[in-house]
C-alpha cells in the first residue's frame, strides 16, 4: 500500500492513489455491511436446507420441509373446490326453476355470474350485457334463439356458427351481392321493414314503396322472419318488429344488411367453462333481462 494522506474531514487515510484528481479513502468496511452479509448468507443456507434448492445432476435437493409447488397448488385447488362444493353441488344437481326459486343460491349466482360474465362475455356483449354494433343486447328479452333457461344454456354450450359439432347455424343471405334482389327492390324492403313498427325517428317512406316492399318481403323473407316479421327462434332469425337491432335500424344499415347479408359468430363454451359455470352464466344472463321488466 502506498503511503496516503489523512483526509481532514473524516480523519481517514487515503490509499495514496490518484486518478485525474480523484482519491480514495482507506475507510474500513462498516461493521453493519459485514453483519448483513453474514446474516443474508446464513438465511440463505437455512432456506436452502428447508426448500428445494440445489441441482444434483438429474435431481435436486428436495429440502427438509418436503414442500413442492406443484403438489401445493393442487392441494389448494382441491381445498377451494371442496369449500365451494356446498353450493356448486346444488347448482349442478338442481334444475333451473328450482335454483331460481332459491334466493340464497341466487345471491351466489349473481355474484359469481357477474365476474364470469365480465371475464368471458363482456368483450362482445359489454360489461352490462347491452351489446354493441354487431353484438346482441342481452337485456331486452328480444332473443334470437329463445329466452328460456334451457335454450340459453344450449346457446352458451354450442355457440352460434361456431366450431362446435352441434353449433347453432344461422345466416342472413346477401340478397344484393348475390343478385337475388335488385337495388330498388331492396330499397322497398327497407321501407316495408321500417314500417313494421320497430324503427323510430326515421322519416316515413311513401306508401307505394312500402306496398312494393311487402310483396318482395313475402316472396323472399318470410321463410325465416315469418309472415308477420316477428322472426323465428328455431332458425335464429331476429324479430323485425321490435326496437332492438343488432346491426342498426337506419335506412343505410338495413339496406347494407339485406345487400351484404350477415353471419354473426358466437364461440362455444363447452370446452372452456365447466357445466356449473355455464349454468351460472345462463342464470346471470337471464337475470339481466329480468331486471329490465
Amino acid at each position: 500500500m502506498d503511503i496516503g494522506e489523512r483526509d481532514p474531514v473524516t480523519g481517514q487515510m487515503t490509499t495514496g492513489h490518484e486518478w485525474n484528481g480523484i482519491t480514495e479513502l482507506y475507510t474500513p468496511i462498516p461493521r453493519v455491511v459485514i453483519f448483513f452479509l453474514v446474516l443474508g448468507t446464513l438465511f440463505s443456507i437455512g432456506y436452502w436446507l428447508l426448500m428445494p434448492a440445489w441441482p444434483l445432476g438429474t435431481t435436486y435437493t428436495k429440502g427438509l420441509l418436503g414442500l413442492d409447488q406443484k403438489t401445493q397448488v393442487e392441494q389448494q385447488l382441491e381445498l377451494a373446490s371442496a369449500e365451494r362444493s356446498a353450493w356448486t353441488s346444488k347448482i349442478e344437481s338442481m334444475d333451473f326453476a328450482a335454483i331460481l326459486a332459491d334466493p340464497a343460491l341466487m345471491t351466489i349466482v349473481n355474484q359469481a355470474g357477474s365476474t364470469l360474465f365480465k371475464d368471458n362475455c363482456a368483450v362482445c356483449h359489454g360489461t352490462s350485457g347491452t351489446g354493441s354494433q354487431g353484438f346482441p343486447n342481452l337485456t331486452t328479452k328480444s332473443w334470437l334463439w329463445g329466452g328460456d333457461p334451457q335454450t340459453i344454456f344450449e346457446t352458451v354450450r354450442v355457440g352460434i356458427n361456431s366450431t362446435h359439432p352441434d353449433t347453432r347455424v344461422s345466416q342472413m343471405l346477401s340478397f344484393g351481392r348475390d343478385g337475388v334482389l335488385e337495388r330498388a327492390q331492396i330499397s322497398d324492403v327497407v321501407s316495408y321493414v321500417q314500417s313494421l313498427g320497430g324503427v323510430a325517428g326515421e322519416a316515413a317512406a311513401d306508401s307505394e314503396s312500402v306496398a312494393r316492399g311487402k310483396d318482395v318481403f313475402s316472396a323472399n323473407c318470410v321463410a325465416c322472419h315469418g309472415d308477420d316479421g316477428k322472426g323465428k327462434p328455431d332458425v335464429g332469425a331476429p324479430n323485425l318488429t321490435d326496437a332492438w337491432w343488432i346491426y342498426g335500424s337506419d335506412r343505410q344499415s338495413i339496406f347494407a344488411t339485406i345487400f351484404n347479408g350477415h353471419q354473426g359468430h358466437m364461440p362455444h363454451w363447452e370446452d372452456r367453462l365447466s357445466n356449473t359455470d355455464r349454468k351460472l352464466l345462463t342464470l346471470y344472463v337471464l337475470s339481466l333481462s329480468e331486471k329490465k321488466t
Binding site: 492513489h17 484528481g21 480523484i22 479513502l25 474500513p28 428445494p52 351466489i108 355474484q111
Partner: protein, 551 residues
C-alpha cells in the same frame, strides 16, 4: 471531424462504409419482399451518406501530431448529443404509450402506432438509445482521464459509437414494422444482433487496448464497472439471441431455446441487462463524476471492492425471480430468491459509498443541482434495489407479479437512478468536453432537477397504488369462494393512476427538453477564457517526437 482522422484511418473508414453499403444493398435486394429489405435500405442510405462525409475530407491535410498530446473527445461529444436525442424520442414514446393505456384510442387505428409496437420503441429508445449512448460517451471520457492515456486509435471509437446507433435505428425501425423476436429488451432480430456483436467486441477491444496504455499503476473503480458492463453485456447478448433465421432474406428467426429453458435464458439475460447495463455501467459513471463534482475522495476503497464483486457475482443468479410460481423448477426459484435477497447488501454498500463520499460536500449538494442529481440518483438506487430484493421474495411476488408494481419498480430504477445519474454526469461533462466555463444556465439545471424528481415521484407513487390495488383485486374472493372482481373491473380501477402516470412521465419529458436546450446554449457559448488545466491532458510522456504512425 473527419479531418482529425489520419489518411490511413479515412481509407479504413471508406472501406468499412462501402462494405456496409454493399451489405445494405444485398439485404435490400434479397429481402425486398420482407421488412429486412427496408432495413437494408436504411443501412445503404446511412452508409452512403457517411461515405460522402468521409470523401469530402479525404484529401484534407494530415492532422497535426499535437492531437496525440490531448484526449480524443469528439466521439464523446457526439455520443452525448445522440444520447439526448434518443432520450427525447424514447421518453416521448413513453408518454405516448402511457397515454395509450389511459386513452386507448390514441393508436389512431394504425398498425405502427399500436401499443405492442410503440412500447419497445420506448424501452429500447431509453435503455439503449439514451442510456447506451450516454454510457459509451462517458466511458470514453472517464477511461482516458483515469488512465491518463488517449483512446487507442481514432477509427474504432467512431465505429463503436456510430455502429451502435445504427443498431438502435434498425431496432426502432423494425418495431414500427412489427419486426420482433418477442424477447423483452432483446427484440431486434438476428441480423441486428450479429451487427451488435461486431460493434460490441470492437468496443471491448478498444477498452482493453486503451487500458493497457494507462499511465496509472492501478485501474480505477469506474473502469472495473465499465469493463464488467461491456464484457457481461456481450455474453448475455450472444447467448440469449442464439437463433436460426428462416432464411437470409427474412427478418424472422427462431430461438435456439424453447419452453422453460427459453424463459429462463431470457430472464437470465433480462435481469442481468438490469444488472450490467443499467447498474454496472451507470455505477461506473457515478464513481467518476460524483467524487469529481463533489471534490471529495471516495468514502471507502475497501467498500468499493466488496460491492463490486458482490454485485457481479450475485446478480448472475437472480434472474429466476422473474419466474416465480411458473413451470420453472422450484429449486431454481429458491436460488434466484436467496441470491436476490443477499444482493441488497452490496447494492446498499454501493449507494452508501456514494452518499458517504458526499460527507464534507453537503453544502455543494444544497447549492449545485448537478451534484444533487447524482445524490438523488444514489438515493433512488438504494430505494430501487431494496424494492427489488423485496419483490424477489416468492410470497411478495405472488402479489406483485404481473401488476403495475413491477412497472413502478423498474421506473424507480430507470428514472430515479439511471436517468438522474446520467443527467448529473452530462451536466458535469458537457462544460468539460466543450471547454466551457459552466453550463449555460444553472437555473435551468435546477428546473430540470425538480421536474425530474416530481415526474419520478408522481410516476412511482401512481404505479405503487395501481399495482397493489390490481394485485389485491385479482386475489379477492367472495364468501362463496369465487372471485369478487373480473379482470375488466381491475382495469377500470387503474384509470386514474394511468392518467397520473402519463402526467409524471410528461414532467420527466419536459425535464429532458429543458436539458437539451441548456446543452444547446452551452455549446453556443464562448469557450472558457482560461486555458485547459493540465489535469485534463494525457501523460506528457506520450507525446511522440515524430508524427505517430496511423493506428
Amino acid at each position: 471531424m473527419v479531418a482529425q482522422l489520419t489518411s490511413g484511418e479515412r481509407q479504413l473508414a471508406l472501406v468499412v462504409l462501402i462494405a456496409l453499403a454493399l451489405v445494405g444493398l444485398a439485404m435490400g435486394v434479397v429481402g425486398r419482399a420482407d421488412p429486412i429489405g427496408v432495413h437494408g435500405l436504411i443501412v445503404l442510405v446511412l452508409s452512403v451518406g457517411l461515405t460522402f462525409l468521409v470523401l469530402s475530407s479525404l484529401y484534407a491535410p494530415e492532422p497535426s501530431a499535437e492531437r496525440l498530446s490531448q484526449y480524443y473527445d469528439d466521439p464523446s461529444k457526439v455520443g452525448i448529443i445522440l444520447a439526448i436525442v434518443w432520450g427525447i424520442i424514447g421518453m416521448a414514446m413513453g408518454v405516448w404509450v402511457a397515454a395509450l393505456l389511459a386513452w386507448p384510442d390514441l393508436t389512431f387505428d394504425a398498425g405502427w402506432a399500436s401499443f405492442g409496437r410503440l412500447r419497445p420503441v420506448h424501452t429500447s429508445g431509453v435503455i439503449f438509445g439514451f442510456g447506451g449512448n450516454a454510457l459509451i460517451a462517458t466511458s470514453f471520457h472517464v477511461l482516458q482521464r483515469t488512465s491518463r492515456a488517449r483512446l487507442a486509435g481514432q477509427f474504432s471509437p467512431w465505429f463503436v459509437l456510430l455502429g451502435y446507433n445504427l443498431f438502435c435505428i434498425i431496432a426502432a425501425a423494425g418495431y414500427f414494422m412489427g419486426v420482433t423476436q418477442s424477447k423483452e429488451y432483446a427484440e431486434p432480430e438476428w441480423y441486428a444482433d450479429i451487427w451488435l456483436v461486431i460493434v460490441w467486441v470492437t468496443y471491448f477491444l478498444l477498452y482493453i487496448r486503451t487500458l493497457a496504455r494507462r499511465k496509472e499503476p492501478h485501474i480505477y473503480v469506474a473502469n472495473w464497472y465499465y469493463m464488467a458492463f461491456i464484457l457481461v453485456v456481450a455474453v448475455l447478448h450472444i447467448v440469449n439471441n442464439l437463433a436460426v433465421p428462416v432464411s437470409l432474406g427474412h427478418a424472422k428467426s427462431y430461438s435456439a431455446f424453447s419452453g422453460v429453458q427459453d424463459a429462463m435464458t431470457q430472464w437470465w439475460y433480462g435481469h442481468n441487462a438490469v444488472a450490467f447495463f443499467l447498474t454496472a455501467g451507470f455505477l461506473g459513471m457515478m464513481y467518476y463524476y460524483l467524487p469529481k463534482r463533489a471534490g471529495r475522495p471516495i468514502f471507502s476503497y475497501r467498500l468499493s471492492i466488496i460491492s463490486f464483486w458482490g454485485i457481479t457475482f450475485m446478480y448472475m443468479w437472480a434472474g429466476s425471480h422473474h419466474l416465480h410460481y411458473t413451470a420453472l423448477p422450484e429449486w431454481v426459484q429458491t436460488l434466484g430468491m436467496t441470491f436476490s435477497l443477499v444482493l441488497l447488501v452490496p447494492s446498499w454498500a454501493s449507494a452508501g459509498n456514494a452518499l458517504a463520499t458526499l460527507n464534507g460536500a453537503w453544502h455543494k449538494v444544497r447549492d449545485d443541482a448537478t451534484l444533487r442529481f447524482m445524490m438523488a440518483a444514489a438515493v433512488f438506487y438504494g430505494l430501487a434495489t431494496f424494492e427489488g430484493s423485496f419483490l424477489a421474495i416468492r410470497q411478495v411476488n405472488s402479489l406483485s407479479h404481473y401488476t403495475d408494481w413491477t412497472v413502478g419498480h423498474v421506473h424507480a430504477g430507470a428514472l430515479g437512478w439511471v436517468a438522474l445519474i446520467t443527467f448529473g454526469s452530462i451536466y458535469s461533462v458537457v462544460p468539460w468536453l466543450w471547454k466551457r466555463e459552466r453550463m449555460y444556465s444553472a437555473a435551468l439545471v435546477e428546473v430540470h432537477f425538480w421536474l425530474a424528481i416530481a415526474g419520478t415521484v408522481v410516476y412511482v407513487f401512481a404505479m405503487w397504488n395501481s399495482g397493489i390495488i390490481q394485485g389485491l383485486m385479482w386475489r379477492t374472493y367472495n364468501e362463496s369462494g369465487t372471485l369478487t372482481y373480473s379482470f375488466i373491473d381491475s382495469v377500470v380501477a387503474m384509470h386514474p393512476y394511468y392518467i397520473a402516470r402519463a402526467f409524471g412521465g410528461l414532467l420527466f419529458l419536459l425535464g429532458i427538453l429543458v436539458c437539451a436546450y441548456n446543452i444547446w446554449m452551452t455549446i453556443r457559448m464562448a469557450p472558457a477564457v482560461q486555458p485547459t488545466s493540465t489535469a485534463d491532458l494525457p501523460e506528457p510522456r506520450q507525446i511522440p517526437v515524430s508524427p505517430a504512425p496511423a493506428e
